[in-house]
């Protein structure tokens, strides 16, 4: 059996972390949950990740800063930005910072799967 692709979810909302974890696992991925940007940056095995799903609005270090740091240190690791805020401004900031894609909450399983498929 082929090794499962590993996806990291970074979100300060424990219910969203848990829900996305369940959904992504049900699509056949392995899931790692992080409650903050700092926790992901402290994770030493980032090269093993297929991608990161990161919330934009988080206390302390926000998602935009996380995207910039990961893009700089691990340019091959795609980050998908997520936010529950409406509007294009945040999406543009995330893409400018280096996000590979963008999802507006709430998003359904098919939107998530299309996004992951685009990442390869």
């Amino acid at each position: 059996m082929a090794e499962q692709r590993r996806i990291a979810i970074v979100d300060d909302d424990p219910f969203i972390r848990a829900a996305l974890g369940r959904l992504i696992r049900s699509s056949g991925y392995e899931v790692l949950l992080f409650e903050s940007a700092e926790a992901l940056l402290a994770y030493g095995d980032r090269q093993s990740l297929f991608c990161v799903l990161a919330d934009i609005q988080m206390p302390d270090m926000g998602g935009i800063e996380l995207i910039r740091m990961v893009s700089a240190s691990s340019p091959a690791l795609p980050i998908v930005a997520m936010t529950a805020y409406p509007g294009d401004a945040i999406r543009e900031r995330a893409l400018e910072a280096g996000a590979a894609d963008y999802l507006t909450k709430p998003f359904d399983a098919s939107a998530l799967e299309r996004c992951l498929a685009r990442l390869g």
């Binding site: 909302d13 219910f15 969203i16 848990a18 829900a19 996305l20 369940r22 959904l23 696992r25 049900s26 699509s27 609005q57 936010t83 529950a84 805020y85 409406p86 509007g87 507006t104 909450k105 709430p106 998003f107 359904d108 399983a109």
Partner: protein, 426 residues
């Protein structure tokens, strides 16, 4: 000797007669000079001066006073045609040279004749002259919007000494100052303030709606992801019941979270304390009219206010009630914008037991019976680009007072919006 006495007496009489005639001539010349001076002052004064015959208006006011009519404004608000007819019977008899020079009219004749030619349909000051007559005022000052001889509308400040008897109404001297430039500057300042306030409101509204969206979207995201995960887990050959159960628990908890967010938002807005006090609705209606004066004039609408002198106060929040009047006046004017020349809005008020009843009626197309239940709902608009919040806000404000708001047909066609407000201790 006797002959010479008579000759002397005759000569003295002659001399006296000559002196009397000379004195008369002198007085006549002085009078003529005086008239010429007055005429010269009238013609050359650096201010526009008009001589107007208001006899018909004076007679009409006196007849109404005699018939026991005390509230002339309400009387004419209910009889706009009578008011228009009266306006046509006020005659401009003369204007000074300065008026002709200032406005570039071809001659005085351009202004002479019935006053109604010079007052636009939207004029609201004529009735105030009648009210001043009725009160016995000796001085009148009013800003009015008038049409010059070449059809350009200008703002003017009229001032007049009013007569104490009917004879004096045949020749009232009115001075007029063109304040168009001042009014335009005032309007630009007001528009800039309105734009700044609107921009601030939009920024606040955007920030607020984004914040609400975030608070609601977050639990929805968890609900959607848990729900779809549970669907997948339960459809597997060997369902992971424990994980499905955990997902459904989270669905329930996140649905409750969303419900609480909505309840918090609702409570945040509905708990704003209203400043309730005894309020004179006529004053509030007038101030609302002033706020939207320019918009109403732009839409060609005329507001007539009818309320009895002894109208009791309402127990109300001034700001909210003013907003209701503003919305209903604009709504009425916009409803008539495509209609006929006559764009009358009548605001009438009356007391009924422990309530005050206000009716804002227009002469527009009215509201179809099947639409009357919907128009007070949020985001319902028949106007292109309209937000559809005006009447919804009215309903919220009136609900906050425990009153009622509804629409039916105006007596002479058009729509009539009714709302009720409680009286103090009502």
């Amino acid at each position: 000797m006797g002959g010479s006495i008579w000759t002397l007496i005759g000569a003295a009489a002659m001399a006296s007669a000559v002196l009397a005639v000379m004195s008369l001539l002198r007085r006549s010349q002085e009078l003529r000079r005086g008239r010429q001076q007055v005429r010269a002052i009238f013609e050359r004064a650096g201010i526009s001066m008009w001589r107007e015959d208001w006899t018909a208006a004076g007679k009409a006011v006196m007849a109404l006073r005699k018939a026991g009519v005390t509230d002339l404004e309400s009387h004419y608000a209910n009889r706009p045609e009578d008011l228009r007819a009266l306006k046509a019977r006020v005659i401009v008899r003369d204007v000074n040279d300065f008026t002709v020079e200032e406005t570039g009219a071809p001659g005085k004749e351009a202004y002479l004749g019935p006053l109604d030619r010079l007052l636009p349909e939207t004029d609201q000051t004529f009735v105030q002259w009648l009210v001043a007559f009725g009160r016995g005022d000796r001085f009148f000052r009013s800003e009015a919007h008038v049409k010059t001889a070449d059809g350009i509308e200008i703002d003017t400040l009229f001032t007049a000494m009013l007569p104490s008897d009917l004879d004096g109404f045949s020749d009232i001297v009115v001075t007029s100052v063109d304040i168009t430039g001042y009014k335009r500057a005032q309007a630009r300042l007001s528009a800039a303030e309105t734009d700044a306030a609107k921009s601030s409101r939009i920024t606040t509204a955007n920030a607020l709606s984004a914040s609400i969206a975030h608070e609601v979207n977050s639990p929805l995201a968890a609900i959607l992801a848990n729900g779809q995960a549970a669907q997948r887990l339960i459809r597997r050959g060997t369902p992971d019941i424990e994980e499905v159960s955990a997902a459904l628990d989270d669905v329930v908890s996140q649905a409750s979270r969303a419900r609480d967010v909505v309840a918090r938002i609702t409570s945040c807005f509905s708990n704003a304390p209203g400043a309730f006090a005894a309020v004179d609705l006529v004053t509030v209606a007038r101030s609302a009219n002033l706020i939207v004066e320019a918009e109403l004039r732009g839409l060609g609408a005329v507001v007539h206010l009818a309320a009895p002198d002894d109208l009791p106060s309402a127990w109300a929040d001034v700001v909210q009630v003013q907003q209701v009047f503003v919305n209903l006046l604009l709504n009425a004017a916009q409803a008539m914008a495509q209609g006929s020349d006559r764009r009358d809005i009548t605001v009438s008020m009356r007391a009924e037991q422990s309530w005050l009843v206000v009716v804002v009626s227009d002469s527009g197309p009215g509201v179809r019976l099947d639409k009357r239940g919907q128009i007070f709902a949020p985001f319902h608009s028949n106007r292109p680009g309209g937000m559809g919040m005006g009447l919804a806000i009215c309903r919220n404000c009136i609900d906050a007072h425990g009153g009622d708001i509804w629409v039916d047909d105006a007596t002479e066609g058009g729509a009539a919006f009714h709302f009720t407000l409680p009286r103090p201790n009502g």
